[in-house]
């Protein structure tokens, strides 16, 4: 049954994932963490970090990782988990494949009409909202700890968040370098 739901979920994500990799994150996060509880909030954040540092599109990376982890967490063996990751990745790619072939075949001439363009125009600001929601939903105890649970970790986490935001947005530090800096900071400040 889990294979069926993995397929359906990632097919939906592929079909409705507008706005590139980051735009898709909101959907992936919502389905895999909030709805199905296949991944914890921190596992999801780890996948995003790993996706940043390894080659390939973030959508494929997280589908593969999530398919594997979901089946593994459900108590299946390793070969079944590999099958799970193949299912999720295939399901994510399938809508793109079908849609792009259909567009190439018959809808190319409609892509620049006013109606289609006004649909895309409405989607653009919506994707901004989706990303904002993904950011807010990731501000969890898993990722930041809490002042009562571990005040030291909470304060350092907030500082690392602010520093990374400033570093990437204002000083334009490469995101991969920023992840490496915070990895070093984590090792020095959180090792116990």
């Amino acid at each position: 049954m889990i294979f069926f739901w993995l397929f359906v979920t990632f097919f939906e994500i592929g079909l409705f994932g507008f706005g590139g990799g980051y735009g898709m994150l909101s959907l992936i996060q919502n389905e895999t963490v909030e709805h199905w509880h296949w991944l914890s909030s921190s596992e999801f954040t780890d996948i995003v970090a790993i996706s940043q540092m390894t080659p390939g599109p973030i959508g494929i990376n997280s589908a593969t990782y999530c398919g594997y982890t979901a089946v593994k967490n459900a108590g299946f063996s390793m070969p079944m988990a590999v099958l799970g990751s193949a299912t999720a990745t295939f399901a994510l790619v399938l809508p793109s494949l079908i849609l792009m072939i259909l567009i190439s075949k018959m809808f190319m001439k409609y892509m620049h009409t006013r109606t289609v363009e006004s649909v895309f125009k409405a989607l653009r600001p919506t994707v901004v909202g989706l990303l904002a929601a993904a950011t807010l939903l990731l501000c969890t105890r898993d990722n930041f700890s809490t002042p009562t649970e571990n005040l030291w970790q909470f304060c350092i986490s907030c500082f690392l968040f602010a520093a990374s935001f400033y570093g990437v947005k204002v000083i334009k530090i490469n995101p991969i370098h920023m992840i490496l800096f915070s990895a070093v900071a984590g090792l020095v400040l959180f090792y116990e």
């Binding site: 990799g21 995003v48 599109p57 125009k121 990722n143 968040f161 990374s164 984590g186």
Partner: protein, 177 residues
């Protein structure tokens, strides 16, 4: 050489060498597909990029499917799509298989505690960048605010928000413009 194999190989290479997601792929795809192999012209490529960006799904896969289809119809599209997805699939599968064993390691745990808040910031940054590019005014700024609040506070699925926005845009295009 067989064209299926060659297009598969080209996109496999593109899949391996792109760090940092879809848009980082554009220069590499242009170099391979437009300059070296000359499968599509430069103008066609710009058009394909624009359409692939507006459509749902993984950007790199969309582009790969388009070019594969141009070359050899459905079978060509399947060859390029598998080529693009395969490197990420294999790399992440290896990491997923072995990562569990290091999760409880104290060094790895400390490193990831530091990385997590940074990653949340990395997702916050494109929110603002995309907002700027969408050229929000005092009317359209409410679209992202309302969508974010519906998802964050009321737990509405982003899929419904996208469907609603699409229908809204369609009606707006039909009635108002």
């Amino acid at each position: 050489m067989n064209i299926y194999w060659e297009s598969f190989k080209t996109f496999f290479k593109i899949g391996i060498f792109t760090l940092g997601g879809g848009y980082a792929m554009i220069p590499l795809i242009e170099e391979e597909v437009v300059n070296k192999k000359q499968w599509v012209s430069k103008d066609e490529m710009l058009d394909l990029i624009a359409i692939a960006q507006s459509c749902p799904g993984v950007f790199a896969i969309n582009i790969a499917t388009f070019i594969g289809y141009r070359l050899k119809k459905e079978r060509g599209a399947i060859a390029t799509t598998i080529g693009t997805a395969l490197p990420s699939f294999m790399i992440i599968l290896l990491i997923a298989m072995f990562f569990h064993q290091f999760e409880d390691n104290r060094i790895v745990a400390a490193i990831f505690k530091g990385i997590r808040p940074a990653v949340v910031a990395l997702i916050a940054v494109p929110t603002f960048n995309l907002g700027k590019r969408a050229q929000l005014n005092k009317w359209t700024i409410w679209i992202p605010i309302a969508s974010a609040l519906l998802i964050w506070l009321l737990g509405v699925s982003p899929i419904w928000i996208i469907i609603a926005a699409g229908i809204g845009g369609y009606i707006y295009g039909r009635v108002v413009v």
